[in-house]
Symmetry: C2
Subunit: 339 residues, 2 copies
DNA sequence: CTGCTTGTTGTGCACGAACACAAAAATATG
DNA sequence: CATATTTTTGTGTTCGTGCACAACAAGCAG
């Protein structure tokens, strides 16, 4: 249509240069007119080279949060199995800053074609991103976005909205004179609590806006061995508690404290994330509800984005993607085995 | 690897016959060993022929339930834009059995390659399916499954689970002495109410199992013009109502009755489906929560399934797919603009 | 044994895309 | 103006797949 050969079009599409301005414009006009779109799969067929990606997240123990993210990445790998992709997984201890640093420090030298990054520690993440920026290696965030970095994209959940959502759930059901007991994690060096902090802010803001601030009691899950006793004591000291909220994925700990220590079934427990332990509690009825953030879809989207970036350097408007916040209870659980 | 040419492999893969038993086995062994998988996109590239599908659902007014299903189908069309697909949309009046019959009767003669079917009237659907079976035309159900038909697949939601889910929401929050007011549709000839009936069964079973049966009051949304007055009267007659439940997607009607007629904001209203009107009510706060059933994903999956069936006749174990049941409130609404 | 039919197997081309290389045109150098 | 160099453009091959057609083999009738 533009009176040029396929080779010239190819050069223009991939910005390989050595094309006269006149032909470029003619071809680009035609491309626009016919609405040309890359076909990622036929591209992959003729693409000789493979890609090497590094995936670095906190330890992904089976049935835990991060293993869902990894599962999503594996699914994307399957979906794009026509592209040769090699993945290197590098896990770090999300409670140990130095473990994170040593893992992150090793990544730039791996000369990967791209990195999927589950950030926890702000400082280490920023320093890694700076190194990757320097080498021109693209990276994608999952689970959280770190301000100041330049990722190709980030796939996470609006944690403040999660907190507000929680508030909404409580608003309807909180009985006269009853209270809300809020558990947050308190493990030193756990900077992922930036997520739980945002959740807490969303919840407290919502409760304040609805005049329920005085109904909220704050507590922490102690990191020690006798956690269960301390939790039980907290409940005993606050017998008016109707709702217990756990802002991280360790709701099952509170559940067993309530079951074993308190032997009460009048407390509604709400937690986060479809971990294996939480699922068990949901089925047994010891956890009432879980807020979930589509970790599998996060992982899936991240790898897909990295592929489309490397193949086409495709830019989109806003690359901070916020995934839906799902509420899962016993009754809809069977249909949430993701994707 | 099997010592045969590509042509022979092709014949085996597509069951075109004229292959000796010995070679067939040799090739099939190799296919299994290397884990051969079709690549739908490269298939499409070399596929000369196009496909012609018929999509028949109730009228899909803008912003209404069925338009989301259609949007999902359009998305799949985009995703598989390398395949030449022509879609014919045939809409019928979901409240008029004879409209449905005349539309359905015309479908077999269209000689389509496949049909996506949003069923409402059981009898008409079964008779259409029989005709399609006779002609060997594959069809896929969306939104509901009709017993007795032989679809390639169905994509719907477990409506009883929806009802039970509703019950779970109420269980936590129902206050002492308060009641639940249940609205179902009562439009003659609307057999789609098989969905709302299942929802009602799920809810009543749940309430019974939790000793709350006596807290439930049943009512209907009158199809007449003065519906609002009648609804308001119902609420006035039952001042103890804390939760109002609408089992179809017309929650917005109850919402405006409560707003305009009752001028109360102490009633929690729960409805179904992210229709435009319902979304508005959610944003305004006149509806508390909506149960949603991923209509877009239903449409998307349906078209995708039809394509993979026609290209490869791929059979899977259980082809009744149940999609997740989502709870949407004001706070997580922005993240539910699907897919 | 020859010719014909039928069944089986292989070959060649097309599709959209990537990329190496050859050819042609434009520009620079002597 | 001829030749060398650089820039621009076109060609051919490849990938996995579908499909038309050619080639070969086997069986059967005359």
């Amino acid at each position: 249509m533009a009176g040029v050969s396929a080779g010239t079009v190819d050069r223009i599409l991939h910005g390989r240069g050595n094309v006269s301005e006149a032909k470029r414009q003619a071809v680009e006009a035609v491309l626009g007119k016919v609405g040309y779109k890359f076909n990622i799969h036929t591209s992959a067929v003729s693409l000789k080279r493979g890609y090497h990606f590094v995936v670095t997240t906190p330890e992904a123990g089976e049935g835990e949060y991060w293993s869902s993210v990894i599962a999503g990445i594996r699914e994307a790998l399957e979906e794009y199995s026509d592209i040769q992709i090699q993945l290197d997984y590098l896990f770090y201890d999300q409670f140990d800053e130095s473990s994170c640093r040593s893992v992150f420090d090793s990544i730039p030298q791996l000369e990967a074609d791209g990195v999927i990054l589950g950030p926890t520690f702000r400082r280490e993440t920023l320093s890694l991103c700076e190194a990757l920026d320097g080498k021109g290696i693209p990276y994608v965030f999952v689970d959280a976005n770190i301000e100041g970095a330049n990722p190709v994209a980030s796939y996470s959940v609006d944690q403040e909205a999660c907190g507000a959502f929680l508030g909404r759930m409580l608003l309807a059901g909180l009985h006269e004179g009853k209270k809300i007991l809020l558990f947050r994690s308190e493990r030193r060096g756990d900077e992922r609590s930036s997520n739980t902090l945002a959740r807490e802010k969303g919840l407290t803001d919502f409760l304040k806006a609805n005049g329920l601030s005085d109904r909220l009691i704050r507590s922490t899950i102690p990191p020690t061995d006798d956690a269960e006793n301390i939790i039980v004591d907290t409940f005993r000291a606050n017998p008016q508690v109707q709702y217990a909220i756990v802002l991280n994925s360790r709701g099952n700990i509170i559940a067993s404290a309530i079951q074993n220590g308190l032997k009460s079934d009048s407390i509604q427990l709400i937690g986060f994330d479809l971990t294996r332990d939480n699922i068990k509690c949901l089925e047994e009825g010891t956890i009432t509800a879980l807020l979930c953030q589509r970790p599998q879809l996060q992982g899936f989207s991240a790898l897909r984005r990295l592929i489309s970036w490397l193949l086409y350097r495709s830019r989109e408007e806003d690359e901070r993607h916020f995934l839906p916040i799902d509420l899962v209870v016993k009754e809809n659980l069977p249909y949430y085995r993701e994707m």
